[in-house]
């Protein structure tokens, strides 16, 4: 059994940033375990630009953004293993990993889970039809094109207007494919506006809101898809069916935290985010196990992932060197009136009044609303938002005096207040 103070599961943007910050705090006894043959995670296949404006104040592509962090990790000589898959994490903080070198059993004082998310597959949205070749999640297609250098198809329909779907629409066009339509179930896009402009509008790709795919046709390979408009309850109106010829259907219908390791460690999971329920130290219900990045909740921007992971690295460091018997009561943040979840979900009742950021997502598009936080009925934070949408994560930056109120409160609520 090997021993480390800190084990970081996943060497993508979250794991890299967490490792660097733990190192910079002073931790030297740690290791990153990465299942792929390269550090950098999914960023390696995100070759489009738009990363790093917050972090580096310049616009980078995914691999460039990743490389900056990889270089920092290497500069610090932080130990990492590639091609190493963690297959189990226990609630005693024992880790089991496999690689070509054999079985690795590790005992850790603290663990940061930073293993990202996966794409919701076709089955997850119950699309009926043929089970033929030519149906890919957008990320799989992205890997085939950008890493392997192969084209998954020539005539494409995309279901879902998440960012990867939008990015892939343009990418397929750039490689000579036709993108016939992007079909979105909701009346709004879950992707960023800028991507709708530069990936669809620039190339006159139709974006059809309130539509879904109701049938896929094709014996061996996709030959066409049937789409239909949906009603307010999102049920397809079958009289509106239309068939679109294509050989490929790409799905960009949501990302789900890869929470299997957390579940194996008996970590309490959120029913909304499907990631762990964490306190404001980013610690899960198992003391010493932390989460950050897309395994915790799906972010829109890698810059925010890096920011969150940096914090996780620091908190894990503090945990390792603190007297571990202190345990505080925690208050669960209640989300109401349009707010789906917050991260963190739990606020520790202690006297650390350093500024704190709450991240949250709303459940629908709302215009002219106030985003508010109340403690025992008193509004401690209120900010006007011209528009909030499910596709864009909101952040609430709380100052020391607000944090003090938060920590002392017995009831905390985060909600939207309509201004109409």
């Amino acid at each position: 059994m090997e021993k480390y103070n800190l084990v970081i599961v996943g060497g993508g943007p979250a794991g890299l940033a967490a490792a660097i910050s733990a190192y910079d705090k002073g931790e030297r006894n740690m290791i990153i375990l990465e299942r792929e043959p390269k550090l950098g995670g999914i960023l390696n296949q995100c070759i489009h630009n738009g990363f790093g404006l917050h972090t580096f104040n310049e616009e980078l592509t995914g691999p460039e953004y990743a490389q900056r962090y990889i270089d920092e990790v290497k500069k610090r000589n932080i130990k990492y293993l590639l091609n190493t898959t963690v297959i189990n994490v226990s609630d005693k903080k024992e880790i089991k990993a496999l690689s070509e070198d054999g079985l690795l059993n590790i005992e850790a004082k603290a663990i940061i889970l930073s293993c990202g998310c996966r794409e919701r597959p076709r089955g997850g949205i119950n699309i009926a039809g043929a089970r033929c070749a030519g149906i890919y999640s957008a990320g799989t297609a992205q890997k085939l094109v950008n890493i392997e250098g192969y084209m998954p198809g020539k005539e494409v329909v995309i279901l879902g207007s998440g960012d990867i779907g939008l990015i892939m629409a343009r990418r397929m066009i750039f490689e000579g494919a036709k993108v016939k339509a992007v079909v979105e179930l909701m009346p709004y896009s879950s992707g960023l506006n800028r991507n709708i402009v530069q990936c669809l509008n620039d190339f006159n790709i139709p974006l059809m809101f309130s539509h879904t795919v109701v049938d896929i046709k094709g014996k061996k390979r996709v030959e066409s898809v049937v789409i239909a408009e949906v009603d307010e309850r999102l049920n397809p109106k079958m009289e509106t069916c239309q068939e679109i010829k294509c050989d490929t259907l790409l799905l960009s219908v949501g990302l789900l935290p890869e929470n299997e390791l957390a579940r194996g460690a008996s970590v309490d999971l959120s029913r909304i985010t499907r990631g762990a329920i964490v306190d404001d130290q980013l610690m899960t219900s198992i003391p010493g196990i932390f989460e950050c990045g897309n395994v915790l909740h799906v972010h829109d921007l890698v810059d925010y992932v890096s920011e969150e992971a940096k914090e996780a690295g620091e908190k894990a460091y503090e945990y390792i060197y603190s007297s571990k018997d202190e345990s505080y009561e925690k208050t669960l943040i209640k989300t109401e009136n349009g707010v789906r979840y917050t991260v963190p979900e739990l606020i520790i009742k202690n006297d650390d009044y350093n500024p704190l950021t709450l991240k949250l997502r709303v459940g629908n598009v709302y215009k002219k609303v106030k985003l508010e936080v109340s403690c025992d009925g008193d509004v401690i934070y209120s900010r006007m938002r011209p528009v909030v949408a499910p596709g864009e994560m909101e952040k609430i930056d709380l100052k020391s005096e607000q944090v003090e109120k938060l920590r002392k409160a017995t009831e905390i609520k985060v909600y939207l207040r309509s201004q109409e």
Binding site: N83, L98, G123, G134
Partner: protein, 477 residues
């Protein structure tokens, strides 16, 4: 000249092939797809029915009860996933009790053991997620579950070990009668002579017979649609949950699979196209809505995939397992629908016996009865993992993260005989891609391994055989 030619390599064809491989005979299996278990066998409920459902006196009843009892032993011998998990037939009304009693009596007549009727509360004490609407249930403790495609592959592999030849992509288009043998013609122009031809062609078994026999059959393809839930929801039930058939038709089951997924289905719809295994919006909805009667808390978000399969249904509602009356040497297995899977081992013994007598075959003295499953890292303890990786480093490379499948397992799936030739073949053998991401992450990796093992360009790698290519070529071309 072959002694025996078997048309079709579903569960009936492969169990018969393996049973006949115990004898000194020259045996060939012809399959129209590129792999075994590509038809009805791969897409059904995977239930080893106890045998209380079939009408006493029918072949269905006879072979079901005999066959089901053979599973525990066979699963050990051929190392395929099987579990005796028990089944409930649920009645949602008090009046249903009399129907349950009729089923119980029928079961007893058929020779099924360990049947009892219990109350709804007793059901829920075993399976707490069962609806509070359930009043009574028939409890069949001997009902089991099996992984049907893995079972079929196990039988096929063992048949090959014992000398049976398999040829794939051989769609039979005609059978010609000769004096004392039959000639089987395939779409690709190839011809095979054999003393005996066994028709195990599933939904096409009528057409195979009708090519040469004056006694015509008509198979109706009856489609059943299913939803499959993530293993995360395996807590929903460990026991197979049937609904008591009502005048509204046969109910929908909620059952665990041998790999801890939850299976919901099947619907029943007669269709024309025997290759049509598409799911439909309304079919999936029907399966789901009816399953909610059994388990009202079924989580729709837990569905990871849907599929459908076709039952080869005869109007007589029973199997035809006999020599053709007018074509010498033609042996028919027609209309083998549920409980066909449970019946298959018993059917195989019966058929093999008939063929042995007909051809006067002698027993082999070097029959190898045991087949070893591909070692799976997800079933290994620490010592086994260390030993496996030591012996072959590919065991340390996890390719499918959801089902924890190593590169070594995938390579072996391709190298076995009959081996996997495409993504679906790999998936059925070692479960890579069967999990919650449904091949999202491992598709490119498995394609690469298939490319290396089969020594064919990546563009020629398919999902399920010819025409189902995954790539359109390289970029920048």
């Amino acid at each position: 000249m072959f002694d025996v030619l078997i048309i079709g390599s579903g569960i009936i064809g492969t169990t018969i092939a393996r049973e006949l491989s115990k004898y000194n005979a020259n045996i060939l299996v012809l399959e129209k797809e590129n792999d075994v278990s590509c038809g009805t066998t791969k897409a059904n409920s995977g239930i080893v029915h106890a045998g209380f459902d079939a009408v006493p006196g029918t072949l269905k009843a006879k072979f079901n009860v005999l066959g089901a009892k053979m599973f525990p032993e066979l699963a050990k011998e051929l190392e395929f996933p099987y579990k005796k998990n028990g089944a409930f037939v649920l009645s949602f009304t008090k009046e249903g009790l009399s129907n349950l009693e009729k089923l119980l009596e029928r079961g007893k007549t058929n020779g099924v053991e360990n049947l009892s009727i219990i109350t709804g509360d007793e059901v829920r004490s075993i399976e707490p997620n069962v609806s509070t609407e359930v009043e009574y249930a028939l409890y069949a403790k001997d009902s089991g579950i099996v992984s049907p495609y893995e079972m079929c592959i196990a039988f096929a592999e063992n048949a090959v070990t014992n000398g049976v030849k398999f040829e794939f992509l051989k769609k039979v288009t005609n059978i010609i009668k000769n004096n004392d043998y039959l000639t089987v013609e395939c779409e690709d122009g190839s011809k095979y002579d054999s003393k005996v031809v066994i028709n195990c062609a599933g939904v096409y078994s009528d057409e195979i017979n009708n090519y040469v026999s004056k006694e015509k059959y008509k198979i109706t393809a009856r489609k059943g649609e299913y939803c499959l839930l993530d293993k995360e929801f395996s807590y929903i039930t460990k026991t197979t949950l049937f609904q008591l058939p009502t005048k509204m038709g046969k109910g929908i089951l909620v059952a665990p699979s041998t790999h801890s997924n939850i299976l919901v289905g099947p619907t029943a719809l007669d269709i024309q196209d025997k290759d049509d295994t598409d799911t439909s919006y309304f079919g999936l909805k029907e399966a789901w809505d009816k399953a909610l009667l059994t388990v009202p808390t079924l989580p729709k978000g837990g569905i990871i995939t849907q599929f459908s399969g076709l039952r080869p249904h005869l109007d007589t509602d029973d199997y035809v397992i006999e020599f053709s009356k007018d074509v010498k040497g033609l042996y028919n297995c027609i209309g083998i629908e549920s409980p066909g899977l449970a019946s298959s081992p018993a059917i195989a013994i019966y058929v093999a016996n008939e063929i042995k007598d007909y051809l006067n075959l002698s027993k082999k003295d070097n029959f190898i009865s045991h087949r070893y499953a591909i070692k799976a890292i997800r079933n290994m303890n620490d010592a086994e993992l260390i030993a496996a990786i030591n012996e072959n480093k590919d065991y340390g490379h996890v390719v499918c993260r959801c089902e924890v499948v190593s590169e070594a397992e995938i390579r072996e799936a391709i190298r076995r005989n009959p081996g996997a030739k495409d993504l679906d073949g790999v998936k059925r053998r070692v479960r890579a891609g069967m999990g919650r991401c449904q091949m999202g992450f491992c598709t490119p990796k498995i394609m690469q391994i298939l490319h290396e093992e089969l020594n064919i360009p990546l563009e020629e790698i398919t999902k399920k055989g010819d025409g189902s290519n995954l790539l359109e070529g390289r970029i920048k071309e």
